[in-house]
C-alpha cells in the first residue's frame, strides 16, 4: 500500500515535471540521437595515398585511429601495441563521403506507394513535419551507398512545398531505430523549395500558382514566425517551432532552388527576416550568381550534368560546380550532391566529371580540392565540420579506402570505416550488413546478394 502510494505520488511529480517542461516550449531532449559506436580500439592504416579533405594530398601517409577518432596523420607512425594494422600501400584514402541531398529511407527501395514518405504534399507550408519520422531504417539503398563510400547522409523531405519540413543528418549505419542513426548533435535543417514544384503541385486549386505566389508564401510564414519568436514560442505551434529555430540560428536552411534570380530573391527574404540560407540545392544556375553566393557565404549543392528534365533545369553548364568553387578567388562553397540512390553510390565519379569540366574551362582544380565537394563542404553546410568531413586529428574516423584513384570510373571502395569501425570490407561477403528487407528476399536461405 505504501509502495502504491509512493508510486502514485512519483507519477504525479513526474507528470508535473513533464507539463512544466512541455508548457509552451519546444523540448530539445527528445528524438535525440542514440547512436553510440562500440570502441574501435586502435587501428593503423599504413602507406596509403591520402586526400585529406582539409586540402592536402599526401602521397604516402599513415593514419592512426584510436577510440573511434583520428589520433594522428603523418608520414610514418610506429605500430602501437594491440593495433590492428591495415596495409594500404598503393591504395587511395579519402574521408567518408557525405551526401547533402538524399531521400534514402523516405523514398526507399523497393519504391512502393506504401513507403513513399518524402513529401507531405497536402499543404504548401509544412515546416512541422520531420523527415526522420518517415525514415525506414531498412531501406536497401543504404548499404549500397555505404559500398560507395557514403558514411553520412542528409535526408530531406521532398520539394512539393514551400516549406517541406525538417531534414535529418544520419550516419550510414545499420540500426533498428532512426535515433540510432542520427548524427550526434547535428543541427536540424529546414527544407524550402523555390520554383516550379510548389506552383505545379498546388497551383490548380490554391496558392501558390506562380513564383510570386511562392515568395508571398515564404514571407507570410516568416511574419508569423517573427511574432512567435517575439512571444517566446508560445502558445506552442509545431510549424512555428521549426521556423523559430531558423530565426534563432539553430536550424539550417537547405533550399531547393534552380534559378539564379530566385536564389537572389531568397537571399533578400533571408535579409528581410534576418536568417541565413546555408545551401541552395539543385542549383543548376548557381554559375550565374556564383559571386553573389560567395559574398553571402552560401553553399551550392549541384549535380555534375543533370539537365532538361524540367524547364528550370534547362540552363545546365558542365562547369557549374567549378565556377561556384572558384568564385571570388576560390572563396566559393561547392558541393556535389546526388538526390538519387543511384548517384549516391558514386559521388566520387560525379565530382570527377565536374572536376574534369572545370579543368577544361581553364580552372586549376587539383584532386585535393575536388574531393572537398563531397566531404568537407557538405560537412560545413550541415554544421558538422567540427566532427567529420576531413581526416584531421580529433574528428570521427570516417574514412574510405579505394583500390584506385577515386576520380576514376573504375575505382571501387575496399573498406569503409564509420567512427573507426569497418562497416564495409570488400573481402567480407557478409558486408555491408544486409537490411531486414533483404534477408531471404530472393532465396529463403540467404540475403539479397
Amino acid at each position: 500500500m505504501a509502495v502504491f502510494r509512493f508510486i502514485s505520488s512519483l507519477i504525479i511529480v513526474l507528470l508535473a515535471a513533464c507539463s512544466d517542461l512541455s508548457d509552451n516550449v519546444e523540448r530539445k531532449d527528445v528524438y535525440v540521437s542514440t547512436y553510440s559506436p562500440i570502441d574501435s580500439g586502435v587501428v593503423l592504416i599504413k602507406d596509403g595515398r591520402v586526400l585529406t579533405g582539409s586540402g592536402e594530398e599526401l602521397e604516402r601517409a599513415d593514419i592512426l585511429i584510436k577510440n573511434n577518432v583520428f589520433e594522428q596523420i603523418s608520414d610514418s607512425i610506429d605500430v602501437p601495441e594491440d593495433a590492428r594494422v591495415i596495409n594500404a600501400e598503393g591504395k587511395w584514402i579519402t574521408p567518408g563521403i557525405i551526401d547533402i541531398h538524399s531521400h534514402m529511407g523516405v523514398y526507399s527501395s523497393p519504391s512502393l506507394r506504401s513507403n513513399s514518405d518524402g513529401n507531405e504534399a497536402t499543404s504548401p507550408v509544412t515546416p512541422h513535419v520531420w523527415a526522420e519520422h518517415s525514415v525506414w531504417t531498412q531501406d536497401a539503398q543504404m548499404p549500397l551507398a555505404l559500398k560507395g563510400g557514403i558514411t553520412t547522409f542528409h535526408v530531406l523531405p521532398g520539394s512539393a512545398n514551400l516549406f517541406g519540413g525538417r531534414g535529418v543528418t544520419l550516419k550510414n549505419v545499420w540500426s533498428r531505430t532512426v535515433q540510432g542513426m542520427k548524427f550526434p548533435e547535428a543541427p536540424y535543417t529546414l527544407k524550402m523549395a523555390c520554383g516550379e514544384n510548389p506552383k505545379r503541385v498546388y497551383g490548380s486549386s490554391q496558392e501558390p500558382s506562380t513564383r510570386m505566389g511562392n515568395v508571398a508564401g515564404y514571407r507570410s510564414a516568416w511574419i508569423k514566425a517573427k511574432e512567435y519568436k517575439d512571444k517566446g514560442g508560445s502558445p506552442r505551434d509545431l510549424k512555428l517551432d521549426t521556423l523559430k529555430g531558423v530565426l534563432d540560428g539553430e536550424i539550417l536552411i537547405q533550399n531547393h532552388c534552380y534559378r539564379g534570380e530566385e536564389m537572389a530573391v531568397m537571399l533578400d527574404i533571408a535579409e528581410e527576416f534576418e536568417y541565413k540560407v546555408t545551401t541552395f540545392h539543385h542549383a543548376i544556375e548557381a554559375y550565374k550568381v556564383a559571386d553573389i553566393l560567395a559574398e553571402n557565404n552560401v553553399c551550392a549543392a549541384m549535380w555534375a550534368d543533370w539537365w532538361g528534365f524540367k524547364h528550370e533545369a534547362f540552363d545546365m553548364v558542365w562547369e557549374n560546380v567549378a565556377i561556384v568553387d572558384q568564385a571570388k578567388g576560390g572563396q566559393g562553397c561547392a558541393i556535389v550532391h546526388s538526390d538519387s540512390a543511384v548517384g549516391i553510390q558514386r559521388l566520387n565519379q560525379e565530382a570527377a566529371k565536374a572536376m574534369a569540366a572545370g579543368r577544361r574551362a581553364g580552372f586549376e582544380i587539383p584532386r585535393k580540392r575536388a574531393i572537398q565537394w563531397i566531404t568537407k563542404n557538405p560537412a560545413k553546410a550541415l554544421g558538422i565540420l567540427d566532427k567529420t568531413g576531413t581526416i584531421e586529428k580529433g574528428k570521427m574516423a570516417d574514412l574510405v579506402i579505394w583500390d584506385l584513384n577515386p576520380f576514376s570510373v573504375y575505382a571501387k571502395t575496399e573498406m569503409v570505416f564509420v567512427d573507426g569501425l569497418i562497416k564495409y570490407d570488400h573481402l567480407d561477403p557478409n558486408s555491408p550488413k544486409a537490411t531486414d528487407f533483404e534477408l531471404g528476399i530472393i532465396e529463403p536461405t540467404k540475403s539479397r546478394l
Partner: protein, 405 residues
Amino acid sequence: MIKHLVIFILLAFNNLSAETLLLKNATIYTGESDSALQGYDILIDNGIIVSIKEEVTESADVTTNLEEKIITAGLIAPFSQMGLVEIGMIQETRDDNSDLYSAGFSITQAFNPSSTLIPYNLNGGVTSSISAPSGSGLFSGLGSSFSLSGENNSLITKDLALYASLGAGEGSKAANLLLMEDTFELARKYDPNSNELQNYSLPNSIKYSKRDLLAVKRVIDKEIPLVISADRASDILTLIRFAQEQDIELILKGASEGWMVSKQLSESDIPVILSPINNLPSSFDRLGSRLENASLLNKAGVRILISSDRWETHNAYLSRQGAGIAVAYGLPWHEALKALTLNVADIFDIPNRGSISTGNIADLVVWDSDPLEVTAFAEKVYISGKLMSTQTRSKLLKDRYLNID
C-alpha cells in the same frame, strides 16, 4: 566586311566537308577486334572509310594528325527519345507517346534534327540513336534510327522495331501476356486487303487500328524485332517461351535479373539492352539488380547493348559511364565498347555503322583519353566524315557567365 566573313565561313565549311579526309597516327579501337591498332591512319572518301593502314600514302584534301589519340566509332544510343523531346516534364515538347495508336504509333515523322539535346549528346560522342516511343502501355509503338548530323535527312532506318512492356499498367502480367498472345493471333489472321477489322477475340476495351495490326504483323513476319521491357527472372523466361511459340525475334530491355537466367537468354540468342549503372532493387521485379549483370550476361554469351541510367535521353552519352562501371565489375573493356557501338548496329540491323572498318560510314569520335572514363571527353566528332561542331547552348552560357565582370 560581313560579306567577306560569310564567304570565309563558307570556304571553311567547304574545307570541313572535303571529299577526302586523312586521319593520321590514331590509336584505333575498331570495335571489332579486342586490341587497338596503334599509330594507324584512316582514309575517308566522301564520308566512307576506304582505308585503314599503318601508313596511308595517298594524299587527301584534309589531313589531321591525331597524335595517337584514341578513336572509336561513334556511339549509337540503343534506346532513347532523341529528337522527340526537349524538356522532360513539359508535354508540349514531347512527341514520344500517343493515345491514338498503340503498336502502330511510328515516331519517325516527329523527329527534330535541330533538337537541343543533339549537340549535348554529340559532345558526349553519340553520333546516332535509335529513337523509340516511350508510352507505358502494352505496346508503345515503332522506333527508328537516326543520324545526329542535324541534317533534315537524318533518318537511317524507319520503323525498325516494335516496343512493348510486359509490366504495363496496373494489371496482371499474365493478362498482359494473354492480350499479347491474342493480339498476335489476330494480327496473324489479319488481312489488310479486307475491310473487316477482326476484333472478335479481344477484350471489349481493346481496339486496334489497321496500323497497329500491321506493325504487329511485321514482327510476326520477322521483318522487325519486338523490344520488350521486363526485369524479373521468371518474366524473362516467360518471354523467351513466348518468342519461341510465336517464332519472333525478341530483344529484351531492362533485364535487371537477366544474370539469373543468362544461360537461357544465351541459348535463345536474345540480346539485352541494359542500364548497367542502376543496381537498385527498386521494385519487386528487380530484387536481383546488381552491378555485375552486364559482365555475367556477357560471360554467358548474351549480346548486350548499353544505355544510360533510366534510359535518360538528355545525357544519353552517359551510357559511357555505365559501360565503365560494368568494366569495373568484370565486363571486358572491348565488350563494353561493343555494347555502345557495334552490338547496337548489328542487333538493330543498322548497316555500315558501329565499327571502324573499310566500307563503313565515317561516324567517328576522337577522345582525349579512355572514352569509358568519366573524365574523358570527345575532342572531335565526325559524322559521315564531316567534322561536327561541338558548340552547345551550355558552352555559350558558360562563356557568358565566366566573363560576367
